[in-house]
């Protein structure tokens, strides 16, 4: 099981929108195989770059409001937030090197 913090419809404003940190939200669901596959890789990236980015998880089954607000239609979907705005969207499970490449601007 992932150690990443869980965010919800109720906590999203506090935990993500109003946060001072760079936060990547991993939109996932229990029934999504690729979501389970990419989860440990996200944990590794979070651990290796804990000073740069925080990674949190939002279960789309339990939190339909936020999933709908950000028009999620494909998971895993990973959105990077800075100052309450989405600055980067990554769709689909990818190997670690590809994810690090996509996230280069936020990990440096």
């Amino acid at each position: 099981m992932s150690d990443a913090k869980t965010v919800t419809d109720a906590s999203f404003d506090t935990d993500v929108i109003n946060s001072e940190d760079t936060i990547m939200v991993d939109f996932w669901a229990e029934w999504c195989g690729p979501c389970r596959a990419v989860s440990p890789i996200l944990d590794q990236i979070a651990a290796e770059h804990s000073d740069k980015i925080k990674i949190v998880k939002l279960n789309v089954d339990d939190n339909p409001q936020i999933a709908a607000k950000y028009q999620i239609t494909s998971i895993p979907a990973m959105k990077v937030f800075r100052g309450g705005e989405v600055v980067k969207t990554i769709i689909g499970a990818k190997p670690k090197a590809a994810l690090e490449n996509d996230l280069a601007d936020y990990l440096a």
């Binding site: 669901a29 029934w31 999504c32 195989g33 690729p34 979501c35 596959a37 990419v38 890789i41 789309v60 089954d61 999933a67 028009q71 999620i72 239609t73 494909s74 998971i75 979907a77 969207t89 769709i91 689909g92 499970a93 990818k94 190997p95 670690k96 090197a97």
Partner: protein, 332 residues
Amino acid sequence: MRQIIIIGSGPAGFTAAIYAARAGLQPLLIASSVEAGGELMKTTEVENFPGFPDGIQGPELMTKLQEQAEKFGTEVLLDDVTAVDFSGDIKKISTGYSGEFEAQAVIFATGSAYRKLGLEDEERLSGRGVSWCATCDGFFFKTKTIAVIGGGDSAMEEATFLTRFAEKVYLVHRKDSLRASKIMQERAFANDKIEFVLNSAVVGINGENSVESLTLENTVTGETSQLDVQGLFVAIGNDPRTHLVHGQLDLTAAGTIAVAGRSSKTNIAGVFAAGDVIDDTYRQAATAAASGTVAALDAEHYLAGLAEAGAIAELREAEHEVSLVEAVASRR
């Protein structure tokens, strides 16, 4: 150095691993970091794999195959192969994070990748209504109207699965007949929510921020029309995943790895190929498993030959030494 390394973790790779492990070869199976388990990880009910009369979920079948392979001593590595070098007797395999591996024999079972439509807006709208994974994304199309593109079993399965969520599913296919098996066709025909749009090719995907409609071209008359949908699921087939071996292994005209007859032998001794990467015709979990079996047996035979050749060479060397000693002794 290992005796055998298997690249790929679908039914072909894991079945090869079961056989190789039971033969005492302690195989290493490199499964990929995010696609371990292969195509079946994205399917739901598998009803045609022998031995499961009540069907089995695709991911569960793959978990069981892995357990069976590990039970006999297969080591499974969740990493991606980044390069292979099959030029020497010792085959070299580089991975993303686990370094380089060497083996006497390799079974290449990397399967196939989803084919794209090749349209301009496909990439832009991917994740915004365009999807390749019905089981992952169907949930987001509750009460929406969507289209599934394709005429094979996977298109029928996806269309039928998606009616659990969508209000309406158009099944769009270029031809006037379907390639899918009879039982899958009948299931789709019997479903009230599915409407067939045949003789139609998708030539455009429209929408500013998300999919709003498709432009279809009638493949008989050439007329174009608009189809309003909020989602598009592409199931038009797969291409064998061969990019790692281009320039090293011979390919067929269909783009699969060429093997000799009914065997798994490629043009390079010690390199065997199995599953969808050599098969653009049948592409079933059961045929892939059978193909993995063939590859493991071929590899086993090859390794036994190497061991025998090695033993003979050692024996000759020993005899040579003895004769030298005798020659020296006789001079004295």
